[in-house]
Structures are given as C-alpha cells and as structure tokens.
C-alpha cells in the first residue's frame, strides 16, 4: 500500500502577483461585497418576497381596513385630512416597509459578519477595505429596500390605497428614509461588542418600536402630547410619512417643511456613512 504519487492532485500555482490586479480590486471592492451579499439574499428570495408582500398586506387588512372601519364610522365626515383611514395610513406603512427592508440587511447580518462567522474579517484579509464593505453592504441593503417598497406599492395599488401616479415619487421618498436609517443602524450594529447581542432587543424596544408607533404613522403627530412629538422630528419614519402623504393624496404641506424632510433624511445618510466607515475601519484593524 502506498500513496500513488503519479495520480496526486496537481496544484497549479501562478502567484498572486500575476493573477490579482490590485488596482482593479481597489476600484471594485464594494461591488464584490455587494455581490456576495446579494447572492446570499437570493438564497432567501422566497421569504423576502413573502415578507415583502405578506407583512404589509396583513397590516393593511388589520389596521387599514379593520381599525379603519372603526375610525371611519366614528369620525364620519370629519375624517383625518378628509380622506379615509386606509388612504391616510398607506404612505406611513410604505415608509415602514422601506426602513424595515433596509434595516434587515444591516443589523443581524452585521453581527454575523463581525462575530458569528467573521466574514468581514476574511473579506478584509483580501484587498477589500472596511469602507468598501460598508458601501457594498449598503448597496445590497438598498437593493432589498427598493424591492420591498416596490412590492408594497403593488399591494397598496391593489387595495386602492395609493394612486399609480405617485408610485415613482413614493419609491424615492421611502428609499431615502431606508438609506438614512440603514446607514445609521449599520454603524450602530458594527459598534456592538461581541457578546452583546441583547443590544438589538433594546434598540428594538426603545428605538424602533417607538419610532414606528409615535411618528404619525397611525394618527397625525399633532394629536400626540407635545412632549412626544419630538420623536417624529428625529425619525426618518415621520419625514418619509409626511412627504409621502403630501405626494400620495396631496396633504397640504409648507414648502420649507418639504425641503426640511428631504434634507434631514439625507443628513442622516451622510452621518451614518461616515460613522460606519470609521467604525468598520477601527474594528477590522483591531
């Protein structure tokens, strides 16, 4: 018995010098990262589509139509903004879909990349930099965000909750909200220490849920006590909701507020990106 060296598997070896083009990977690193992430996402496309369509439909049925019927019959002719509750609610739920879609790709997956299977470290061991990982992850997250918002819009159209003319502008509004929030959440997720997975529970309870509930989603922000209204001011959810309502059924809005809504969402994205770049670089070189 012996090892058959004639049939030993041959390992070819050209050397990184000739096969890796460093300039090219510097230029395209983010795309490589995005590619990996999107491939991973595609593995779950069924659940992503199911959730993208399922979740909103359920909320629409239960809150938009169920609670909506209570509200409409209680208010009669004095309806909020003079439209039925479903129409009032639709832009808000759409904003939630955008934010949720983007966020799902930057929270747990980031913990996975840094802690569980440490893929970010192995990416970083190639020519890819921390900033490129951030950009790539965000590209993938935004792909998911746009897809999810689009699916939701189709759903809303079917219920007659939005008009088809408002589809493109609402898509833009909700993606901007998703971008701003996801960038900040990405930086935040990356700052969570290895053994602190409980942090997400806290963020969920004290940030995401209140943001969802108190940002004028289910009723105008002005019908809340004044000491709760600030939640809306700092939340992308409210900015996107308010913009969305103006675009969808022509809710009256001051021009300066219109600009402010856009500006704040973009500011969040800028802050989020630069924070995320810093955190990633620091953590990867630790």
């Amino acid at each position: 018995m012996s090892i058959d060296i004639a049939n030993e598997p041959k390992m070819t070896w050209t050397g990184a010098k000739t096969i890796v083009d460093p300039q090219r990977s510097i230029r395209r690193g983010s795309l490589y990262v995005a590619e990996t992430r999107i491939k991973k996402m595609l593995k779950w496309w069924k659940s992503i589509v199911a959730f993208g369509l399922g979740n909103p439909t359920l909320y629409l049925l239960s809150i938009g139509i169920g609670i909506g019927s209570l509200v409409d019959s209680s208010l009669g002719p004095n309806a909020i903004d003079g439209v039925n509750y479903l129409t009032f609610l639709a832009p808000a739920l759409l904003a939630t879909a955008g934010i949720q879609g983007a966020m799902d790709e930057v929270t747990w997956p980031t913990l996975e990349g840094f802690v569980w299977d440490r893929t970010f470290f192995s990416m970083n061991a190639t020519a890819i930099t921390g900033k490129q990982i951030v950009n790539g992850v965000m590209m993938a997250a935004m792909a998911r965000c746009v897809l999810q918002v689009f699916l939701y819009e189709m759903c809303l159209l079917a219920f007659g909750a939005i008009s088809w003319q408002s589809v493109p502008i609402l898509l833009l509004v909700c993606s901007a909200a998703g971008l701003g929030f996801a960038a900040i959440m990405l930086a935040f997720s990356a700052s969570i220490k290895d053994d602190d997975d409980g942090m997400f529970a806290l963020v969920g309870r004290f940030i995401i849920t209140p943001m969802f509930m108190f940002s004028g989603t289910f009723y105008p922000i002005t019908s809340m006590p004044i000491y709760l209204q600030w939640i809306g001011w700092i939340s992308p959810q409210w900015h996107a909701t308010n913009l969305g309502r103006a675009m969808s059924y022509g809710m009256p809005i001051e021009p300066w507020l219109l600009i402010l809504h856009w500006a704040l969402m973009l500011a969040m994205a800028i802050v989020g990106f630069s924070w995320a770049h810093r955190v990633f670089d620091r953590r990867l070189s630790k």
Binding site: M1, S2, I3, D4, I5, E8, D195
Partner: protein, 329 residues
C-alpha cells in the same frame, strides 16, 4: 481436583491470577453501525474495553472516531448493532449511563454565557451533585486546569488552549468511571500536554477507564494500552502499540529524499531494497531491519539522496501503512 494435581505449580498459579484479574468489560460493541443518510460513518465494528484500560482510537480524518465516541458517550444513537456500556443499553438508559461518563468532545462546547467557575458549577449540577461538594471539587479542578486566576473570566476571553483545559476539567467534575477524550491535547502547549498526560496516567492508576482518540502518535504510545486503528468506518487493526509496530512495520526505517519531482522515478529503481517501500510525495520510506545497510545499497546504485535519515519504526509508520490513501502494490 485430583485430576490436575500433577500439574506444575507455576501453571496453576497463572490460572488463578488470570481468574483474579479477569477483566470486567465496560464497553462492548458488536456490529456497531452509524449511518447518516446513505453514508456509513461507522460500519459494523466490534470491540471491547475493559475496566481500568486505556483504549485508543486512531485513524485519518473522517474515519469515524468521533462518531464512535459519541455513541459510547450515549449522546448519539446507533443505527445498528449492539452497544452495551456498563451492562446497559444507551438507547434506553441514556441519563444513567452518562452519569458514569466524563466527556471531552472534539469541539469545546463550553457555555458561552457563563464564566469559568460557573461553567464547572452548572455542569456538576447537571449531574445532581450537591453545591457544597462541588465548591471544593471546583477548586481542585481549577488548579488542575491552571485556571484559578481565570475563574471569573467569560469563556470567550480564554485562549484556545485554556478553553480546552476547561473542557477537560469539566469532564472530570463527576469523577467519572469512564473518561472519553476526543483529541484532548489538540491546541495545548507542550507543557500542558505533559501535565495532562501525567494526570491521565494517575487517573488510570486509580482505576478510571480511558477512551482516547488522537492524531499524535507519541500520545497514543504514551497513554494507550490498546489501540484500534480505524479507516472509513472500519477497523483496520487492533493491539498494543508494540504489537502493532511489530506486526505492521519493520525494525528500522530509512527516509530518503530526492526532490519531489524525482521521487516517483527513483522509487522504481529502489525496488528490492528493504522489506517494503512507501513512496510519499516528498520522500521515500524504506522499511528494513537495518537502515544503514539499505542506504549503502542505494548509494551503490549510484543514487544520491538529497537527505537521508535512519530511525526506529514507530506508530506513525503503522498508521501510514494501514491508512494509506491509494492501493499501489
């Protein structure tokens, strides 16, 4: 017994001795099989482990060692055959059998949410041991694992070797009758390795039965009374280290290198030298009673190895012979 009265006293003595030390079987496996889907990870193996014995499992990666260990540890149910541990069937008496066992799995499965001390305490409590007794025991174990200073660290903060030592200490917390160690010293530094060998040796002296898998042949030679070499789920050979070496190898081995491109070519010319040739990708092993003589023969043929080395035959040679990858006789 008049019939035997004429037998000489020496023989009679031996018979008595044999009866006295008639080994008690702790683990009996017959036709033991484990399948994952269609794949037979362990393929109908028979073996017996006796009380106080140190039993080693050797074999290449994927041979089925860990699978066998898990079945013995009553944490994996067999797919076929019979398995008796301390006279009981692990399928129906799992918790009871596991009370007798100390298990050190190949991959540490410490409780990440607990600190070092808490890991030992909770594990002991799983056996139902009283807290008071455990408190004393844990001090002993911490000292044994040299982790006294780390008692309040989270397990994540331990180095790889420290985790390993903690896992081993944890396996001792119930003072097991059978200690199952799956590659116990992987990741340990030489000093920790020797300390562990020493401790295991002492445990054995106190009557603990050891079942060990390892990829270190020196460890197997040091620790094991009896070895079982497995490959592809089957038993290839069984015996004491010395027996195996005697049966499957020669007295000496000559290792010669001709550069990896030339070995195959040269090997053909070496035919007939020594009792057997083993051609590895990087060197050629010549098995013989006298290595120096073979080297002379080679040089006489006009072949000049880049390096050459004569050494005593070891378990490593047995291992290579029994589990070589392809058959080219």
């Amino acid at each position: 017994m008049p019939k035997n009265a004429h037998k000489d006293s020496k023989e009679r003595h031996r018979a008595v001795a044999a009866k006295k030390t008639k080994p008690e079987a702790m683990i009996i496996a017959k036709g033991l099989t484990k399948t994952y889907g269609d794949f037979k990870a362990v393929d109908s193996i028979d073996f017996t482990v006796h009380r106080g014995e140190s039993f080693g499992l050797l074999g290449p990666n994927g041979a089925g060692k860990s699978t066998t260990m898990k079945m013995i540890a009553a944490t994996s149910q067999r797919s076929g055959g019979e398995l008796t541990i301390l006279g009981k069937d692990p399928n129906s008496n799992g918790p009871e059998i596991r009370a007798h066992l100390g298990v050190v799995p190949q991959q540490d499965n410490l409780d990440r949410e607990l600190k070092v001390w808490e890991n030992l305490m909770v594990y002991g409590r799983y056996f139902g041991l009283p807290r008071k007794w455990l408190k004393v025991k844990i001090e002993e174990l911490l000292e044994f694992a040299q982790l006294t200073e780390k008692r309040n660290s989270k397990t994540e903060e331990l180095s790889g070797g420290m985790k390993r030592r903690l896992t081993i200490a944890r396996g001792l917390v119930n003072e097991p009758e059978i200690l199952m160690l799956d590659e116990p010293t992987t990741g340990l530094d030489p000093q920790a390795r020797h300390i562990l060998w020493d401790r295991l040796f002492r445990l054995k002296e106190q009557g603990v039965t050891l079942v060990i898998t390892t990829h270190y042949m020196d460890e197997a030679e040091q620790l094991c009374d009896r070895l079982m070499v497995m490959d592809k789920g089957k038993i290839m050979a069984e015996g004491s280290p010395a027996e195996l070496i005697k049966k499957y190898s020669s007295k000496e081995v000559l290792e010669v290198r001709f550069g990896s491109a030339n070995n195959a070519q040269v090997a053909k010319e070496l035919k007939g030298i020594g009792t057997r040739l083993e051609v590895l990708p990087d060197r050629i092993l010549v098995y013989a009673e006298n290595g120096e003589k073979c080297l002379e023969q080679i040089v006489k043929k006009g072949l000049h190895p880049v390096t050459s080395l004569v050494r005593r035959s070891s378990l490593e040679d047995v291992f290579l012979r029994l589990t070589g990858r392809t058959l080219v006789e």
